[in-house]
Symmetry: D2
Subunit: 80 residues, 4 copies
Amino acid sequence: EGARQLEAQRDTLSQQLQEVESRNRDLVEQLTDFEQRLEKSQNEQGVFRNNLKTLLEILDGKIFELTELRDNLAKLIEGS
Amino acid sequence: EGARQLEAQRDTLSQQLQEVESRNRDLVEQLTDFEQRLEKSQNEQGVFRNNLKTLLEILDGKIFELTELRDNLAKLIEGS
Amino acid sequence: EGARQLEAQRDTLSQQLQEVESRNRDLVEQLTDFEQRLEKSQNEQGVFRNNLKTLLEILDGKIFELTELRDNLAKLIEGS
Amino acid sequence: EGARQLEAQRDTLSQQLQEVESRNRDLVEQLTDFEQRLEKSQNEQGVFRNNLKTLLEILDGKIFELTELRDNLAKLIEGS
């Protein structure tokens, strides 16, 4: 009796362990997937940010050139 | 003897189950954390993107106003 | 004889004087016309110059607004 | 008596003619001066107008370049 009961407990535990381990593998897989998505997203954000920085530098240049044009117009008006 | 062996197996399995369940809770916690970070990151990206769209609209306006100024200068030169 | 000669000289001079005086009136008329054209031209240049000054001020405003936009873009990139 | 009177008339006319001719030369000089000033002023206006046209072309270029920048920013936002 005792042996049969112990055997049943052992089998139940063994099955539970398998189930929990299987669930574990799923979770690890999900985590790995999340990590990859987060890393990809961060890389994309980095590229995006660099592209924006390049546009900012171009905008700086355009503002500088418009300021030069403005100064030349001012000189032209003053000299006329 | 068989009973003792079964008892030992049951205890080992019980301990393994506890360990794997504890590991499981950790993984679920990590996943939840990741999900929150990813959601927060996506929200921030959304806000960022909306701010950029606002700047784009302002830039549109500035280009339009510079074009008006350009046209007025052209008319002034033509009429002089 | 002397009297006739003198009479002829007087008449010639009188006619020359009339011609030169007529030429004088033409020249004064031309001068007045020139003065009016020059004054009109200077007035037009003054109006033109004021219009250019207005455009210059508008351009100043646009450059200022583009610089604000540039600064907001820079802050957005830094904060991201 | 008649001869003396005629002589006096002739001398008066001769002097008036000289005065009017001198005034004439002054007027012609003033006219020439005016013409030169008007021509110089027109040349300067021509140079000024060409300088303004050059600035207008530069402004055209800047507006074109800002529009390119705007389009690149729009693409960046859409692609993000």
